[in-house]
């Protein structure tokens, strides 16, 4: 299959990890993705890691430009991998996106695709994704909120009302932490 951006190599209820087909390439941080499994799972990319394929080996410094490395040390690119971690936001339930954890995680080796503008619009139509981010313990929540909101707004052709609506939701979620809310809002401008 062509056109996919990753393949699921670790799968769990709260999220999954996908291997990128090309080293150094991955969907951007904060982008909306989905699996192509029987019941697609939707999520947000919150971590991208490039490193050694083998646990016992670490990349070394070579003092060469990227061009030189590709010409003179071509094997190192075969020994690296790029993986991205996805936070699950919801799944497709009888043709409708349900903002809840999927009853079963996506199967290992499912392909991962970037969401279409329509899917992004549907995923951001409510503020559930912001709540999902804020309540997840192991994600860089504030930055993920900013990136996902900006991405959603782009797919909605810079809809100002959308930003205002989400800003209001954020102020509700973070009503006990004004500093944090202010920092996010300032960075969204």
């Amino acid at each position: 299959m062509s056109g996919y951006i990753g393949e699921v190599v670790e799968s769990g209820t709260k999220g999954f990890v996908a291997r990128s087909p090309r080293v150094g390439e991955a969907p951007s941080f904060g982008s909306f993705v989905r699996t192509d499994s029987g019941s697609p799972v939707y999520g947000l990319v919150y971590e991208i890691i490039t490193g050694s394929r083998e646990p016992g080996r670490k990349p070394d410094a070579y003092d060469m430009s990227m061009e030189e490395l590709k010409r003179e040390q071509p094997q190192i690119f075969e020994l690296l991998k790029t993986e991205f971690h996805v936070l699950t936001l919801g799944y497709l339930d009888r043709g409708k996106i349900r903002f809840a954890l999927s009853p079963l995680p996506p199967p290992i080796h499912s392909f991962v695709l970037e969401c279409t503008d329509e899917e992004k619009e549907a995923l951001s139509s409510e503020d559930f994704f912001l709540r999902a981010i804020i309540t997840s313990p192991n994600v860089p929540a504030d930055d993920l909120i900013i990136s996902s909101l900006l991405g959603a707004q782009r797919s909605r052709k810079n809809d100002k009302d959308f930003m205002v609506r989400m800003g209001k939701s954020l102020s509700r979620f973070l009503k006990d932490d004004y500093e944090r809310l202010a920092s996010i809002l300032r960075r969204l401008l």
Partner: protein, 390 residues
Amino acid sequence: MLNFHLVKSQIDSMIRERKDFACELTDKITLAKEELKLKSEDWEELSRKVEESRTSWLVAGISSPPASAHPLPERPRNYTALSSDGSQIFPDRHEALPCYLINISSIALTYGDNAGAMLGSGPSLFYRDEDRFTIWGGKKIPADSEVISLKRTLMEFERILQLVKGNEADGNTIALSDGTLILWRLEASPPDFRDGIMVPFLRILDEFRTLRVPVAGYISYPGSTDVINALRVGLCPEKVSFCNQCPYTELPTLPCSPIEGLTDRFLFSTVLDTGEASAVFKSSSKILEMYGEHHIYFFYINIGEEIARVEVPKWVAEDGRLLSLVHTLVYDQAKKGKGYPVSIAEAHEQAVVKAKDRDFFFSLIREAMVKSGFAVTVSRKGLSKRVPGV
């Protein structure tokens, strides 16, 4: 269990003795270096004497001034390095089924304009009678670690040959192998077993020769003494040395002993600058009588971090273009691998079968047997090792 208190005192004695030897070494190296220079002036005479003498050691055949140092030739911009290595799971007679596994890696690294890398490995499982047993001096015996290791070596060279054939690069290709090209272990085996390895091995070398792809065996930190031994022949006052009729055994020290104990590596570390290669010498291993056109020659090279020994067949040693290609590419490979040829290092990494892989392999077999309704029985000894009681 190992008693480390008792081991430690033995380690200390070993270090004391080695330290004493290291002090003597400096004088020996100076002497050997002088001798190498001296004999280079009249190397034809040393060459004749080595040729005619009969010693109990391996002596390097000499066909050029032995002290010469060849500067590093320019590296072609585009080249390909091919390599393969193997690893195995030996048969364990305490396991449920008798079988063994050989994992062979394939490495093709292309440098320059069309740079790219191909790294991989493929396992082969051997369980049929013809694989589990071998004919050794007319008798059918179970394949042991020695037999499996030789079979593995053969498979490595077969794999490199496949890589050569599948590689559409221009003339600058090298086939690198870890360790010696001299299958000296076969010296002690009976002709029926020996031929089973040697005939296909030489056929593979024939193909390399037809394709004009140089094969080189790379030996890191070599312990060989062939050149030192040639100098010892030179030190012998006899016109031709016959060690088994040595007339000097009554003397407190033999005339050839002042440089005894040195390795060629020590000697050439004082002769070669970084990148330089030594003269080419001819190996006198007995097994090479079978090699014919592929008789193995060798040279030493200073790769910066250490002195390495590089072995090549006769047709490479006698072809100036191929020899200097081997010289420059071996150096470049070692530089890229920070002191050890990167293609050989990757070949090892791809082939290696770790202890936990071995355990998993046998548990896969047991599991497959259970699923197929086989009665799985392992030996009590095997079981006792796996689950030691108190």
